[in-house]
Symmetry: C2
Subunit: 510 residues, 2 copies
């Protein structure tokens, strides 16, 4: 009886083997795996009962039209996984102890594995998970006729020396030292940290040594690490309003509260921050070039901010996201260089300077926090990926970074001038643009009839025509918003700028 039932089930199993004949040419392995899977499903779904005896492998093979080796291979696997058991001298049986697997809540008496629902589990995200998912920003620039006009924040990677990059990568990995291969330093490759420290000292006046530098994937990881190390859930962070949404997302993901601090012509309004959240634990600020407004934090505000941080025992995260792209004058010295107490955590990224998919950034920790930042980094995620690091160190040390930045700066300055010039010609009376001594985009102010339309609607119309120009008001939270359009120019090829602006003018004159 057991044998008959077993055999009957085996025939139905056989049906599930897809084209055994056709597969046979490519070896036995796929067939054995199919046979294994079919057996397993039959056992789990109760079509083969506990204790059922299997026919001898020879019989089984003949029944199913497979070789005996194939049948044995499948049976071996099923035995080793516990679906089948062998009894000395009497062959192979479906395992008896499976049905006794007591269901966890003791409620049901049916074997747990027999009723196998195939409907997917209902998805319930955590509260913070829902927050995370809702802060997702979809990529603003879909490829198209007018791409990349005028996606903000996009550098021009077309002139990046990828040939050189490929050579540096190959050179650094052909015969790597053991310590490079084994990983190790949670702060990153020592040569790269040295190169970054040298660069920041010379180009930015940051007061730092290599041991203060942590190589990270970018500003978001820096914010995440800082918030987790120094802030508990419920603690407050000052955040500029408007600001880069990625920063807001990273802060929210760290489960801390955000106090939005308005920005005027002198940058973050420190007194408003003090009024709103005097006991905040961290202030996130982009003093050199606020995003998206482009304003510079005045000296008075810098000193105010530092004084507040001292009083409140708070930290300051200085986001110097685009310091390399300054076209006129020298940039202001970073806040970090004014800080004598070690309250400023300085962060930046290489992904805009080199190319966006690189995902390498850095954090300069105050001396007293170095050890803790290293340990926290190691606890969360060991150390930064090694692949790009030695090549980057060489890129810095051999002067390629400085040369590339020089070329890019010249190109972007020309493109900004061209955008201003062409916009004055084609968009006069609709949008007004002012020069910005730094950055990768300009903020256009709607004038005339356009000033009476919501910037979000204007942006939507342009998007429908294939032109990206995000609405400034989208970067704000709360009611106080300024209208405007962000026009990224850095990645726009010379030949495309005028046609794209003409197209914009057409759309805006409808």
């Amino acid at each position: 009886m057991a044998r008959r039932r077993g055999k009957g089930s085996l025939l139905s199993l056989a049906i599930r083997l897809s084209k055994p004949g056709a597969d046979r040419g490519s070896g036995e392995a796929p067939l054995a795996r199919q046979l294994y899977a079919a057996f397993r499903a039959a056992i789990l779904e109760g079509r083969l009962g506990a204790g059922d005896r299997l026919p001898a492998s020879r019989v089984l093979a003949a029944d199913l039209g497979v070789s005996r080796n194939t049948a044995l291979s499948a049976i071996d696997q099923l035995v080793s996984e516990g679906y089948l058991e062998t009894r000395r001298g009497s062959g192979c049986y479906v395992a008896r102890d499976l049905p006794d697997a007591s269901p966890p809540d003791g409620r049901s008496t049916a074997p747990a594995f027999v009723e196998h629902p195939t409907a997917p589990a209902p998805v319930r995200l955590s509260r913070r998970g829902r927050g995370l998912v809702s802060t997702h920003i979809s990529a603003a620039h879909a490829p198209g006729r007018w791409s990349p006009c005028f996606a903000p924040g996009l550098p021009d990677s077309s002139e990046f020396p990828f040939g050189l990059w490929a050579r540096l990568l190959a050179r650094s990995w052909r015969h790597p030292q053991a310590d490079l291969v084994q990983g190790g330093d949670p702060a990153g490759h020592p040569e790269l940290r040295r190169a970054i420290a040298d660069h920041l000292r010379q180009a930015r006046g940051v007061v730092c040594e290599a041991d203060q530098v942590l190589v990270l994937s970018g500003i978001r990881q820096a914010v995440d690490l800082t918030c987790r190390l120094l802030l508990d859930p419920g603690d407050k962070v000052w955040l500029e309003n408007p600001c880069y949404p990625g920063l807001r997302a990273a802060i929210a993901a760290a489960a801390v509260g955000i106090a939005d601090v308005p920005v005027d012509g002198e940058g973050m309004m420190v007194t408003r921050g003090i009024a709103k959240a005097p006991r905040a634990k961290l202030a996130c600020v982009a003093p050199s070039h606020q995003f998206p407004l482009g304003v510079v934090l005045s000296l008075q505000r810098r000193l105010q901010l530092l004084a507040w941080a001292r009083e409140a025992r708070a930290w300051i995260l200085e986001d110097d996201y685009d310091s390399e792209f300054r076209y006129q004058g020298r940039p202001l010295a970073p806040l970090q260089s004014l800080d004598r107490e070690g309250r400023v955590i300085y962060v930046g990224s290489l992904s805009k300077v080199l190319f966006p998919s690189l995902r390498v950034g850095y954090l300069v920790a105050p001396r007293a926090l170095i050890a803790d930042f290293r340990k926290a980094r190691a606890a969360i995620d060991e150390h930064p990926p090694a692949t790009p690091q030695p090549a980057l160190a060489a890129f810095f040390a051999e002067g390629h970074l400085a040369a590339h930045v020089r070329r890019q700066r010249k190109r972007y300055a020309e493109r900004q001038a061209r955008l201003l010039d062409l916009a004055a010609r084609h968009l006069a009376g609709r949008l007004e643009l002012g020069a910005d001594p730094a950055g990768l985009h300009l903020v256009a102010r709607p004038v005339g009839a356009l000033a009476r339309v919501a910037d979000i609607d204007v942006s939507r119309q342009l998007a429908a025509a294939g032109i990206v120009a995000p609405a400034l008001s989208n970067y704000y939270v709360g009611k106080q918003r300024r209208d405007g359009l962000l026009l990224g120019y850095a990645a726009v090829p010379e030949a495309m700028m005028e046609p794209a602006l003409k197209r914009m003018a057409e759309v805006l004159s409808r």
Copy 2:
């Protein structure tokens, strides 16, 4: 008077310029920067008062023994940063409005920037920050005479085809497509995701397509992302006891609670988990090869675990950290392939298979969670770094991964056999080792006199002699611990194995 005071202060400034004569050969820039910094410090520290008039640049230059250009450059910067102000026709003054910068709390009437303490700020980490820092695991293998004997978990990277890796890197970056450069997909490079899905289906029987794969930096990032997306602070996670401390650190860093679940010869004791935390939201388990014990989760327990997850609406994180290194038999099919509800999140890493510093791993999301995982990944940290991804895709697709794994598997199997053989010869009566069909280390059980000594003390003695053999009891939490020593063999060169074991025997016979 103002002038005299200005001049007097300037003389003291001059003292602070370090060896101006010596520096002059290397150009004027460093001198101008020194001058700028000295002025700034004098203003911030109140040695130059608000409204003080500066001497003419010519006089200043002569006083300080620098060129007029140097003096002008420093003054320009100070003016642009707001420390000095120029008045039409009457020269340059220390800015007047700085002293009026009202101190944030309205308490003090002294200008905020005058009292500039130079003592570092006291460091107060957050509660979770203290947790993070305390879970830090220091690297177990310092370089030395006996390195890498017997650091567990260390693969042998000496035979990795780095020449090939260098070529693949160079090939993939010499003329990259725009979409590779611009970044983009938060889940990772599409070709790599396809290659990983193919590999997992063929080598492991994971039921997945490329769109379910997320490229991450490793298992820790997978745990972090999963905990943040699906669990809130305070929710509970089942964790095997003993387990890999990095996993514990990553879970703790995500601010969720840990329910430690003991492990016996059949793996995680599911009924104990149910008794301890029936409403846990997640179970972290390494069913194929538990770390560090090496046991396999029995079929019965697998079914129990899946049934519990269904009842409790919980998720399972299946950590398949070393599935590639199995020396006997085929590995059990992953839990993920038994899961019809989509409750299992399957995670693995390439860093052991290729080389540790690579930091590339993956997560296979249940279909219903794909979109949420992508968004959460983007919100926290945009997308994985591009540099290694196309080269890895080629490494998989062109069959190099399979070939490398085959070679490594053979080498490691031989090394394990050698370790067993030599240990039986040199350590008999002190340590007993049993074979393990998988993994990179063996657990040695102290016998005889050694069984009466705490494994931590034995491990410490060995460490003092330069041999790494972590104590098994260190991987446990709570009182129920087993004593033992972990002996990693995979990275130990053939010639070193016997001398190192003899050295161990010497130390242990003291």
